[in-house]
Amino acid sequence: MALEQVVKPSDFATEVHNDWCPGCGDFGILRTIQMALAELRMEPHRVTIVSGIGCSAKTIHYVKTYGVHTLHGRALPYAAGVKLANPQLKVLCLSGDGDGLGIGGGHFVNAGRRNLDMLYVIHDNGVYGLTKGQASPTLKLGVQTKSLAHPNINDAVNPIWLALAAGATWVGRGYSYDIKHLVSLLKQGIEHKGYAFLDVLQPCPTYNDINTKEWYGGEDRKDANSGRPLPRVYKLEDEGFDPVVHEPLEIEKKATQALEKALEWGDRIPIGVFFKNEHVPTFEERILQRVPTYMDNPPALQSIAGPNGEPRTDLTRLVQRMTFKGE
């Protein structure tokens, strides 16, 4: 899959006009996706990116791979269909928080049960941007962003907890203004064997005036001595956090510490890898048990007809067996 020649982020750029608001956190996610694919030396035609609906979903128009801009909430099952049909493709799936955790919440839970080898990224800004700033499933209880008439009456789901409970085997969180770190997370998520979920904190400069770039960066609380901001976002790895399940007996311990870390919010917001467990068979491996040719000759690549359109599937014996097995 990897290329020998140098691959540059610009190899993944398109000339499509970008219509995000200035300062949108999505720019950081776009840039890091292009960088991560280039650093992993991916061939553009072997990558398919599936998105839902919303500002996040527009990302794929700016990345020169195969892609589908699908329906609100349905990117995950669509991406699963692409991957199942051709497991030789590298599949990424992009959603917003409303897209992935509200209307698409059922699919979020069920994706964890499958452990398909793909990366799912949620652009997490707490609001429905494209429909003018309504509260999304990740906006906290009592928070009133500028387009809300009243403080949020619902509480937020915790994407990290939900992903862990659903069975995601790699769970991470990034911040769209920490480019280098986010590239590293994307690369790890793409390379993880199994279903990886990456929550990306992504300020919406137009509608979320609470969880802003300045708020994440701690501009409102400066160190008394140095006068420097005290960022709310910190990196798990800087504190020696080890998310890896090194052997199956460790699953409980590692999941518990991930859940504990995922509760942190407000003054200290962890980013990095919360959990990584490669001891669960991927869905591809499970299919391989039933269809031994699955990886080498996957559904989308099987030849179903001869040169003159004659079918390659011979059903004579099957129908004989189905009908007259006992004869």
Partner: protein, 583 residues
Amino acid sequence: MSKRDLALRVGGAAGDGVSSTAESFAKISARSGLHTWTYSSYQSVIRGGHVWTQVRGGLDPLLSHGDDPDVVLCLNQQTMDVHQADVLEGGAIIYDVDSVKPDPTKIRKNVRLIGISLRKKAQTLSPNALMRNTVALGAAVALFAMDFRHVESAFKDIWGDKKPEIVQQNVAAARLGGDAVKDLGGPLPLGLAYPNQAKYLMTGNEAVCLGALAAGVKFLAQYPMTPASSILHWMASHGPKYGVVVKQVEDELAAMNMAVGAGFAGVRSMTATSGGGFCLMVEAIGQAGMTETPLVAVLVQRSGPSTGLPTKTEQGDLNLALGAGQGDWPRAILAPRHPEECFSLTAKAFNLAEIYQTPIIVISDLYLGEGYRTVDKLDFNVPIVRGMMAADGGTAKDFKRYEITESGVSPRALPGTKGYQFIGATDEHMESGELISDVLAGLPEFVEERRKMHEKRMRKLDGLRKDSPPPEMWGSRNADLTLINWGSTWGAAHEAILQVEEKEGMKVNSLEFPTIFPFHVDEAQKLLRGVKQSLAVEGNYTGQFARLLRAETGYKPDHFYGRYDGEPFASRDIADKILEVVA
């Protein structure tokens, strides 16, 4: 004159083994060389309630599961109470003499009562009396004077080669029932000469699966829903041998989206459901229309509205299929009449889906989907046409995924093909796939672009119409009355026509539509020109097809006969209706 057909009705509570007993008898009937047709009346319960299955066998091709049976096999008292009056003169009732009591005042004359100690006899072979059904089945086989060789063969079919002891025990149990009949007067004097040339036996749903396999399907995503679930079960059992990935998913939203995603990746992909599930799929099927992705959706109808009667039949989802999804998008709706067409039209649907890069709906119903029918011949050599691929002729440099063409079909590229990367979008888009929905919407140039793109997609309807089977007129020329029908109603309609032609000397024919949409307006109008008087027969309240016919051709059927009580059409009811409207 000796009879040319027979019918056995098996009844009991859910969990009694009614369907397996009836299925065994259907297999025995098909092995005896009879054309065979079954109908199961069952309920949405796991245990208890009252369920029955009728198996009809005939020396001539059958058109329905028939009316009153020759033999009723009662696995409980309720079956006796409900069905004893239906048994034809000269027939018989099989029951457990130790626990079930017939009411002779309700039974027609000359019906034999075959009371056997079913449970006690079964207990001589195994203490739990599990095989009492098999004892009764053996009695039925003996009453119909069928060859016991077929019993063993049918059991091998069911239990396979892996459990020879179960097959042998059941054969022994059936023999106990057969021997009991000898002591109770022997076979019925029906005089059927069995050809003993085995015939294929399958349900409409199995025929759909075979058609899909023959056409090269390699992906099925489905959520269980009666009466479409057997497609999932069958494909899960048989698909993997043919490299098919079968995925049971979390809901019908996922089923359709996953199937579309797989189609985008280039595999022949399908999903199947019933009305309620199809409701959840409508946004995603429209997505496939907009992104020009091939897909086959099988809609096996049951009684609605809403949850309706999950185990009962109806043809009430035609409007749903016609109107599924917001906006206009090109689709074809094919309506098989019998298992042969479940096979051939499903296979055809895969070609149409790829040639025209759009969803094709195959619409059947519970009666057709779940009933067993014998099938004379299926042509497995279905031609496969995969449609226009960019890499076959064009170059990557000037590739436009949604190029505007006269046919409306644009060159397709599959993920993994070097240099042809594109973005498919459910938003309106340009030939390249780039959006015109956002910052370009409403600008004069893009108002025009949108119009052209929409027209391009919709032009596919012309090709779909040309490549789909036209309406057919069956029966007499210059008929006094024409029945207008679609789908599984075909059989009862033909049978009713044969009845009134024989008994009343009338001339009636039948106008049928294997393709519902795109509507074959010219062909329909041509056939309608010779119609003197018409009766639309369909399994719904509003006459969904009759309304479509009127909308497309301006022709209003003179009479309408709708059935919406959950039961399939009975030929004698259609015959009565024919007499009523012609008189």
